[in-house]
Symmetry: none
Subunit: 202 residues, 4 copies
Amino acid sequence: MSPMNTDQLEQKKQERKVQIMRAALKVFADNGIKLTKMNMIAKEAKISYGLVYHYFESKEQVLYESLEWGMERNKTKEMFDELNKKQLSALEKIKSFMMVAFKEGDTGRTGDVFRIIQHLHSSPDLPTHIHELIEQSGKVYIETLYPLFMEGQESGEIIEGNAEELLRMYLTILSGIMAEDPLFWKENTEWKVSILIRMIAA
Amino acid sequence: MSPMNTDQLEQKKQERKVQIMRAALKVFADNGIKLTKMNMIAKEAKISYGLVYHYFESKEQVLYESLEWGMERNKTKEMFDELNKKQLSALEKIKSFMMVAFKEGDTGRTGDVFRIIQHLHSSPDLPTHIHELIEQSGKVYIETLYPLFMEGQESGEIIEGNAEELLRMYLTILSGIMAEDPLFWKENTEWKVSILIRMIAA
Amino acid sequence: MSPMNTDQLEQKKQERKVQIMRAALKVFADNGIKLTKMNMIAKEAKISYGLVYHYFESKEQVLYESLEWGMERNKTKEMFDELNKKQLSALEKIKSFMMVAFKEGDTGRTGDVFRIIQHLHSSPDLPTHIHELIEQSGKVYIETLYPLFMEGQESGEIIEGNAEELLRMYLTILSGIMAEDPLFWKENTEWKVSILIRMIAA
Amino acid sequence: MSPMNTDQLEQKKQERKVQIMRAALKVFADNGIKLTKMNMIAKEAKISYGLVYHYFESKEQVLYESLEWGMERNKTKEMFDELNKKQLSALEKIKSFMMVAFKEGDTGRTGDVFRIIQHLHSSPDLPTHIHELIEQSGKVYIETLYPLFMEGQESGEIIEGNAEELLRMYLTILSGIMAEDPLFWKENTEWKVSILIRMIAA
DNA sequence: AATGAATGAGACTTCATTCAT
DNA sequence: GATGAATGAAGTCTCATTCAT
């Protein structure tokens, strides 16, 4: 009942939520939104399904907050800021970005978020605020990669043509891979990245 | 009571089945197996859901027969035989294959079948006979493209390396695109094909 | 278009109805009312299910008319009148009744009607007019057998006790047998009848 | 959190299952397998149909487990062992068996199980494991009564003839009664038993 | 007259959500 | 806080009935 208690409780509560959100991201990413049962999230988080409702209003709310949390952790922007400090060409930066973004361990969840966003593209019956979240999240990739594409074209590293269109196609392909084969990046990452880069490298 | 009568009826029945299978392929491709409701197939075919059961035993049977029918129409093999008659390099043949396979109108359904097969890869709880059908169908692409990849490598048109792995990655990317953006090939097909080809062109 | 034609048509129609009713009685008797599908009746009558609706309003109507027709053919009363002409004791008449009633060929349908009536006892959700028909039909057996039971008791052939109760139990057992094992009477009829008679024989 | 807690929960769960199985046995017995709706079981158990699925996988599983449970409670064998300790003639034992088996109160469910087994004889489209259960259960009656029939014939209490056939007919009649009139044994049990016994008593 | 194509109510089952403990 | 018991909407499939041919 001491004031400290309240804080501790609050923190514990937050930890629980994180435990659930981490599980949710994984399960949503693996199965898609509709096919993910509350059951599966609870099992992945090693709690009872009833408890999920103690921390979240609904399945939809779990999705929303998990995405929010995942994007925050995702920190694409920060990743780029980090990259920009290094002395690399535009193409090398793009390559580095892919290596970092998709070859993550347990912590990042970048891939999970990316994959969920793909699943969501094909779920037209979701509420607006979720679609907005997606929209916003998708933008991050565009906003950070577009300048690099432009830079690459100027320096002659990247093929000519409409940079925006090229970027969109590039992202479509990345999305597609993640939707198609979640384990794609697990093996031979470097080789695969280099092949993909060939598409845009002059 | 003329002999023509029976034939006509039989043909009409077959047309109805085709109407349903065409609808089913589209809806399955767009939504995945589990998320496709009989309702959706029926609505797409502009009939009542009850009627679907007049022509097919179950949802699973609709899937199976539709795939079978779609693959038959698909005729990847025939397409290649046609190609091989022409005087083209391996890379040009691969390019032609993509142009023909993915830029079809309403008739071909090649893309739908391709996408469903992708969905099915991630549905481990389907009966054996469907998985066999998929397996078999997937093989067609490999069996027809693999020799071309080899040929391309020998002639120096295609980059060095493990041809099988390269082909698998190539197919994963194609699958991913179709899963991700069904309308991908509608516009700018030629340019998109050329970009993709860059991945493997030496 | 001649007047004769009308009659012939009328007769043909009646024959068709009989064909259906005969089939219906058999299928209803074997499967019970609810579990009998229109399909099964049609197949048994070797016609399409649609045609049944040409001759009858509904499944319920098929049941009603079939029962009516079956009871008419059944002619328990006539059977007894026949028996009464012979010089037999009451017990021998009861025995004869059973032999005739249950060991019939294709024509009689006595057993079918009897069995359907049993099924109907346990179908409380049927319309009134059908229940009335049943009621009425059940009475025939009681009305014709009751005097024989009385007579048998007076002559000392049948055991003492409440004749009505004894008869009711006897009929329950007969009904039960037909519900339980439709083919019961096919074999060893005489021996089985004699065993059953032992229950009431003094 | 006391150790008792888990046990209590487990016990409560078991009680719920028993509540459902008791209801199921009654409803199955009254209506037959196919005509029994999950709804009816739920209503009889005074719960929602959804809850039934919390405790059982499917309707079929409800049937299977209910039968198993009912047979266990049934304990025909134990009943006979009890009887055999007493100094009774074979016929008297058969009589006692019937009195005990069919004049039970709420607890026994012997009659329900017996009736369901009859219904099942006429349901050829049930899975094997259920048929095996039935088979096995049916055997109990035969295995326990057959020796008594033989014994009775040797001592001259029971009429001559093929004991097996006689027993089969006897059981058919019992089954039939239970199928036909579930309340048959409620009243006048002793008298009814004595009449039935007359069939086989020398 | 005859067929069987077409429809939709109802039954089984799944699963998100609420609630008692 | 934590569990899982309880409910009911929605999806798959069956089948009586209507209707076009």
